[in-house]
């Protein structure tokens, strides 16, 4: 084993310790810096990163499919990460909404004034459109940006390409 690998593993472990991990049933606030740590801790998995908001009806329509997608593919290393784009000051309302409508859909909520600040961690050229879903490969690179609502079948097809 080279010296580089243990250091990298240590760095990832530290990042994981420092990142705001999601509670079993909670909505976690995250700054851009904190969310970068969350992503770093997911290296080695295929991440389905979904940007949503309570006021975005197409977002809400696809949430059950995203939850189902993770359920189907978790054993193969697929992780769903959701980030709510509602105003951070609306945390309590967003959490109540999530619990009522999508209790299995755990999510972060941006803790930044602007939506773009947090999303820039993943996509510096995001055009502030919802829903946007990023497929991130096991190396932590964005493999695909999907904008607009998609069906479960469409998500399955896209994610399968990253699992081969």
């Amino acid at each position: 084993m080279s010296l580089r690998s243990p250091l990298a593993a240590l760095a990832l472990a530290l990042a994981a310790c420092a990142s705001p991990a999601l509670a079993d049933d909670g909505l976690q606030m995250a700054t851009a810096q904190e969310f970068a740590q969350v992503l770093a801790a997911e290296r080695g998995r295929v991440v389905v990163l979904n940007l949503w908001a309570t006021w975005c009806t197409p977002c809400l329509k696809e949430i059950p499919d995203l939850v189902e997608l993770e359920r189907e593919l978790a054993a193969r290393g697929v992780k769903l990460l959701a980030v709510g784009m509602d105003d951070p000051e609306e945390r309590d309302r967003v959490e109540a909404f999530r619990k009522e409508h999508f209790p299995e859909f755990r999510s972060y909520l941006r803790n930044e004034l602007e939506m773009d600040t947090l999303v820039s961690v993943v996509d510096p050229a995001w055009n502030e459109l919802l829903p946007t879903t990023y497929l991130i490969d096991r190396d932590g690179k964005v493999a695909k940006r999907i904008q607009g609502k998609r069906s479960l079948e469409a998500f399955r097809t896209e994610v399968a390409a990253l699992l081969d």
Binding site: E90, R91, A125, N127
Partner: protein, 437 residues
């Protein structure tokens, strides 16, 4: 020889701008600025105040205003009577703490009447008198004392009879927001907003409503539905006025197969009737989602100009389109900043010196504010120029025309609101004066 060099220099420097200044309180978090210029050259800026810098956002529901709050935002106002060199201390426009609903792409609007009356139109937290449920409404206030005080808020939309919480979401049972306002030199005030009251489970789209005043905002005619159930519900409306009093309205329509089309419609009878909405072009953009993209509009005679974000372009970016027949048709759209990785948030101003286009874009770093100018009615454009501003993210520009033909631009700089005056030389052809102010 010196004069030749002088003129040559003018030809090379297409645009210039004064150093930006901070308008908002540096200790507070500002967002979503808008600007208007009065007939006397006074500059009026409004923006959202999200609370003190470095403090946590206020969470949850509060009853301080007598109804459920979906957000805790205030609306601030400041004015300049020296051409934008200095501004008054900011004053709060909304009567009740935290009553404003807006955000970066759901901005409040401001306009100045012929006698200096300050008109403000903004989205507000409210409770429906019909259903008792939380709604977001459009509110109008005005100041007849130069912005020192504002009138009591007048809700412009009627409360809907139905509770559409299961369609509207976002903690709201109805939304009557994402509006715009145009104030004519003669004292006509036009307010428009997107309204969810015609939404159905099959078509979760908005209608467009209007209320107009013909006495400088003293009274308004009842609301009227202009277009029913086919407008993008999150793409803020925009309006512009022609010198002949024609009212131009920018919006996005949504087809049954989710084609998001930027359009312009015009009224030539003081807002009584509007013509068909005409597409401003660009690649067909099909999306089942929330674009949050307005259609910026400006007018000069029979020339109508638009600046819009199009997500179907690669990379996604802002397109300029021009009509030379009063908005009946548009020439093919062109990219305004082809080199940018992404460009968005367009603003467009028609002044007597020329046409000014502003937007924010990422071109190798953080978002910055960019501009181009045209002195031939949009036929050709200056090079892309970055507005000089402190390091860091700069975004969401808005602009208004100054009496001297320059433009006054405001934007969000991090969590501050900044402003600068920009201008373009009158001509590059041996004009003998640079026209700079």
């Amino acid at each position: 020889m010196r004069s030749v060099l002088f003129v040559l220099a003018l030809c090379l420097v297409h645009t210039a701008h004064a150093e930006g200044l901070t308008v908002s309180d540096p200790a507070r978090r500002g967002q979503a600025p808008e600007v208007a210029v009065g007939p006397d050259g006074s500059v009026h800026v409004i923006w959202l105040d999200k609370g003190p810098v470095g403090t946590a956002d206020r969470h949850g529901h509060d009853k301080s205003g007598g109804h459920s709050h979906q957000s805790f935002t205030d609306l601030m106002y400041a004015r300049s009577d020296d051409g934008g060199r200095t501004f008054t201390e900011a004053r709060r426009v909304n009567a009740t703490d935290g009553d404003v609903w807006g955000f970066a792409v759901g901005k409040p609007r401001i306009g100045i009447g012929p006698t200096g009356i300050v008109h403000v139109f903004y989205p507000a937290n409210a409770t429906s008198t019909r259903t008792g449920k939380a709604v977001a409404s459009s509110v109008y206030v005005r100041s007849t004392d130069g912005g020192r005080t504002f009138s009591a808020p007048v809700q412009m939309n009627a409360d809907a009879e139905t509770d559409l919480s299961e369609l509207v979401h976002g903690g709201l049972s109805q939304a009557h927001v994402f509006g715009t306002m145009a104030v004519a030199p003669g004292g006509d005030v036009y307010t428009f907003w997107l309204d969810t009251r015609d939404m159905t489970a099959e078509r979760t789209l908005s209608s467009i409503f209007v209320r107009a005043s013909h006495d400088d905002g003293a009274t308004f005619a009842p609301e009227r539905r202009l277009f029913t159930g086919d407008a993008c519900p999150c793409c803020q409306l925009t309006a512009a006025l022609g010198a002949d009093g024609a009212v131009y309205l920018g919006s996005r329509t949504v087809s049954p197969d989710n084609l998001r089309m930027p359009t312009v419609t015009v009224s030539r009878d003081r807002g009584e009737h509007f013509g068909p909405r005409v597409s401003t072009g660009g690649a067909p953009w099909t999306l089942e989602g929330c674009p949050l993209k307005p259609v910026a509009v400006a007018v000069s005679g029979e020339h109508v100009y638009t600046l819009v974000h199009n997500g179907a372009e690669q990379p996604p970016g802002v397109l300029f389109a021009r009509s030379v027949d009063g908005g009946r048709s548009f020439e093919p759209a062109i990219r305004i900043h082809p080199e940018a990785a992404v460009s968005d948030s367009p603003a467009l101003v028609s002044a007597w010196r020329g046409l000014y286009a502003f937007w924010h874009a990422k071109a190798g770093g953080e978002r910055r504010i960019y501009m181009r100018t045209s002195t031939d009615q949009g036929a050709s454009w200056s090079a892309v120029t970055e507005i000089e501003a402190p390091a860091g993210a700069a975004s969401y520009p808005a602009a208004a025309a100054m009496p001297d033909g320059s433009a006054f631009v405001v934007w969000q700089q991090g969590e501050q609101i900044m402003a600068a005056k920009v201008w373009t030389p009158v001509t590059c052809r041996l004009c003998g004066s640079n026209g700079a102010s």
